[in-house]
């Protein structure tokens, strides 16, 4: 090689290293767009003598640097794009949400696939006790004039197993495997628990030819499905509510590219190139109602996972409930609308007084999360409302 290109390449290499190094400390110059998904970013290292001696400061610096390295987001997208383009896969990560790419770019959360083919291991006695506890809580709340409704959200994998890459089922048929929820369902009915059976309702809608219950690129029920769930929820709740949920005011269905939570798995792929083809799907256009005054709207306490967020969002778009609280995963209290985290801790709540503020308690979780028993909510209430 001639000398001039050699000099250019040698300087180019060192300049490249410097560029990336400098960009690390200039977060404003990051290119590649913000990455989607939630991570806990490592804190900047604290340089203290004990930290230096025991090496913890150095390890913190390593972690911080890796998470902030220049062009970080571009690197991550490049890595993902290579896997996606060449292998139709998202990289297997140490932790976080793993996305499985199915034929036709149907995306699934890996945890749902595992759940769909894992037989329930709980003893029937435990399931019965679970159902009985929910019933007890339901009765205790009812005596205080508060309605409890449990909404079990369906799993996309259980609803659309035909779009999951067959290898991930390893020869198993999800329909032939009794999951914990499928075993709990008759026990809930037997115990007289008032619950919304999302998996059964969605299966019936699918059988009746309803499309677009889940977007290909999302993990949650679609906005179209949410609207129908809320309609059925109104029918179940309103007869018992002092302040009923008003009409949701559907004006039309717009056919659009998937939006908001309907693209959450696609966004989580964090690809470099523009999105792949996403078929359009119906979105309910909802008019905010003005007939019912604010004070006459219901106040609902939400205890939910991310499936509840779409319900909440739609209710506020329709102006169909009062500002309220959300006990997200029963870990922290958030004020709605706005989803602002409050300082007070769930453990410090005076339950009898607190519950009295609400017309109903809406508990939402996915069918795969049944064994978590609403993250301890029913147990806490069962004890607190004695």
């Amino acid at each position: 090689m001639r000398r001039r290109p050699q000099v250019l390449l040698a300087y180019g290499f060192v300049a490249w290293l410097w560029l990336i190094g400098i960009l690390t400390f200039l977060p404003g110059l990051q290119i590649g767009g913000a990455l989607r998904g939630v991570v806990e970013k490592p804190a900047p290292p604290e340089w203290s003598l004990p930290g230096i001696i025991d090496g913890s400061s150095f390890r913190a610096a390593d972690d911080w640097f890796s998470a902030h390295v220049g062009l970080h987001n571009l690197w991550v997208r490049l890595d993902n794009q290579v896997s996606y383009t060449l292998l139709r896969e998202s990289p297997v990560r140490e932790s976080g949400t793993r996305v499985v790419v199915g034929p036709g770019d149907w995306l699934f959360e890996h945890v749902y696939i595992t759940a769909a083919i894992t037989p329930s291991q709980l003893a029937t006695e435990e399931l019965t006790a679970m159902a009985d506890r929910i019933r007890r809580v339901q009765d205790k709340l009812e005596r205080r004039g508060t309605r409890l409704i449990l909404i079990v959200a369906p799993s996309k994998v259980e609803l659309y197993p035909e779009h999951v890459p067959a290898a991930h089922f390893a020869g198993r048929d999800p329909a032939a495997i009794a999951t914990t929820y499928e075993r709990l369902r008759p026990l809930l009915q037997e115990a007289g628990v008032d619950f919304y059976d999302g998996p059964a309702r969605f299966a019936a809608w699918k059988a009746a030819g309803h499309g677009s219950l889940f977007a290909r690129t999302g993990t949650h029920w679609s906005y179209y499905a949410i609207y129908h769930v809320l309609e059925e929820l109104r029918e179940m709740l309103n007869p018992d509510l002092r302040r009923p949920i008003p009409d949701l005011g559907l004006t039309s269905l717009d056919y659009l590219q998937p939006q908001r939570t309907d693209t959450d798995l696609h966004r989580l792929l964090n690809l470099l190139l523009p999105p792949f083809h996403e078929p359009i799907q119906p979105f309910p256009v909802i008019r905010a109602q003005t007939e019912v005054a604010d004070a006459d709207l219901p106040r609902l306490l939400w205890v939910n996972d991310s499936f509840g967020l779409g319900l909440i969002d739609t209710l506020y778009r329709a102006r169909a409930m009062q500002p309220t609280d959300c006990l997200y995963y029963f870990q922290n209290i958030y004020s709605l609308p706005g989803f602002t985290r409050r300082e007070d801790a769930i453990g410090e709540l005076d339950w009898p007084a607190y519950i009295g503020e609400f017309d109903a308690v809406v508990v939402v979780f996915t069918e795969i999360a049944v064994e978590q028993q609403a993250w301890g909510f029913f147990e806490a209430l069962d004890t607190a409302l004695d």
Binding site: V38, G55, D62, S83, H110, H168
Partner: protein, 479 residues
């Protein structure tokens, strides 16, 4: 610090290279030594003290050797120096193991146990200890000149490209380079090419294979289905090669960027047609060390075939124990010692008459069984694992444990990387030579361009992979 980290690539290396080349030539060794101590001290600064203190000891003994002329005195000094270095290694690397063994025996005799605080292992101690021993013995034998100064000696011991994972460099190979070396753009670029190649091998091949091997070896081995057992073992066989050889490539590449030329450490070992040949190609600097400082002093092959066999066996026992303080490594060494002894009995010429494909496949199979002993915590585990390789009925067990589904454990990316790693490992020496890839500098313009493209690709994809590993997002927060 390790080479395959973003902080090394984009913080340490650019700053170091800038300081190194901005410094006047006379001061470059100083920059190299300072950079090396910072590199080594990063993460565990107290171990840099051990490196320097043991270096001072080694240098003092070597000065004693230079001043002493009486043979008995020189013998005593070299014995002191080697024992001192071995004692440091024994304390940091083997004391936990020996105390565990002792407590096992005491427990068996119902005699209580020795109270012991576990000792942390300084990074690279096995490598730099052997390097210091080689220096002392070479100075004693007169095959190496003594270092001109303590500074030169410390630079030889601590030079960061080879400090953590070799190659184990002999002082006489680098003495002249420490005194003065050529810095040129083409050598620098050759170093960049070699470093990038090594980075690619480590990050793009070894790391993903290692992750799969770790998961498979971490399962309950007694019920491990055969397909996983095979995949796990193959992943490990190619991981350990590309990990170690990749690191050596990076070391050689970084050395070239600084004007040094280190000895090669790997020469396509999986293309060997016998285990004897494998050891001429695998971790060459360790094999040379063992030959010169253990095998030949034991008598080598000069005292009959029985003694040669025993010597070989002893050398590999020592080599196995050098790899780690565990019985697995000792058994691994014994296994290779036995194979080499058997090959000597059969005769190397006979083995070479086998068709190349058969020889390579058979050697690879034998070496891979050795990796099984190396990787599993105990010998019984290795035997169990070996049994699982032929448990064909175990295919059904995959269906009963959904946590072990194929796509979870072995993604398409893994299979692609495994195929790539295998292909890369079995490219013959002739092919490399014919196309000039073995040369320090590219022979043709086409190859120069290919090297630039390949190096850029490795650097970009490895950076992407390293950054990707640091981003494990959850779909929604639930903290």
């Amino acid at each position: 610090m390790v080479f395959s980290s973003l902080i090394f690539l984009y913080a340490f290396l650019p700053v170091f290279l800038a300081c190194y080349y901005w410094a006047p030539p006379r001061a470059r060794n100083g920059v190299a030594l300072l950079g090396s101590l910072l590199f080594y001290g990063w993460g565990e600064p107290r171990f840099a003290g051990i490196l320097v203190l043991s270096g001072l000891f080694g240098y003092a003994v070597s000065r004693g050797l230079v001043r002493t002329t009486r043979p008995a005195g020189r013998r005593a000094l070299v014995a002191l120096g080697v024992s001192g270095h071995l004692a440091v290694l024994a304390y940091f690397k083997y004391s936990n193991f020996f105390v565990d063994q002792l407590n096992g025996v005491l427990g068996w005799l119902a005699q209580g146990s020795v109270v012991w605080t576990a000792v942390a292992l300084p990074l690279g101690i096995s490598f730099f200890t052997f390097q210091k021993i080689s220096y002392l013995v070479d100075v004693y034998r007169g095959t190496s000149p003594p270092a001109r100064s303590l500074f030169d000696y410390l630079l030889y011991v601590a030079l960061f490209p080879q400090l953590i994972a070799g190659p184990i460099i002999r002082y006489h190979d680098v003495a002249a380079q420490i005194a003065g070396r050529e810095h040129s753009h083409d050598r620098f670029l050759s170093g960049v090419w070699r470093f990038s190649l090594g980075l690619g091998r480590k990050v793009l091949l070894a790391n993903p294979l290692g992750a799969v091997a770790d998961r498979i070896f971490g399962q309950d081995l007694s019920v491990l289905p055969a397909p996983y057992a095979w995949i796990g073992l193959l992943c490990y066989a190619f991981q350990i090669y590309h990990d170690f050889a990749g690191y050596s490539d990076m070391a050689i590449g970084l050395g070239r960027m600084m004007g040094f030329e280190f000895t090669e450490n790997f020469n396509r070992p999986y293309t060997a047609r016998s285990v004897t040949e494998f050891w001429r190609r695998w971790h060459i600097s360790l094999s040379n060390f063992m030959r010169d400082y253990v095998y030949i002093p034991l008598g080598g092959n000069r005292a009959g075939s029985a003694r040669t066999g025993i010597n070989l066996w002893l050398v590999f026992l020592v080599s196995g124990f050098w790899h780690g303080a565990s019985w697995s490594f000792v058994f691994w060494g014994a296994y290779h010692g036995t194979l080499l002894t058997l090959e000597r009995l059969i005769g190397a010429a006979r083995l070479q008459r086998l068709p190349a494909v058969v020889g390579v496949a058979f050697t690879f199979a034998l070496v891979t069984v050795g990796w099984l002993i190396f990787r599993t915590p105990t010998l019984p585990d290795a035997v169990v694992y070996l049994g699982r390789l032929t448990a064909w009925s175990s295919w059904n067990e995959i269906w009963t444990n959904p946590a072990m589904l194929w796509p979870d454990l072995v993604s398409r990316r893994t299979l692609a990387v495994l195929a790539l790693a295998a292909g890369f490992s079995f490219i013959t020496e002739n092919w490399w030579r014919r196309h000039g890839w073995d040369e320090v500098l590219p022979a043709t313009r086409r190859q120069a361009v290919l090297r630039v493209v390949f190096a850029a690709l490795c650097l970009l994809l490895a950076s992407a992979s390293l950054a990707g590993q640091s981003y494990n997002p959850f779909i929604y927060f639930r903290f």
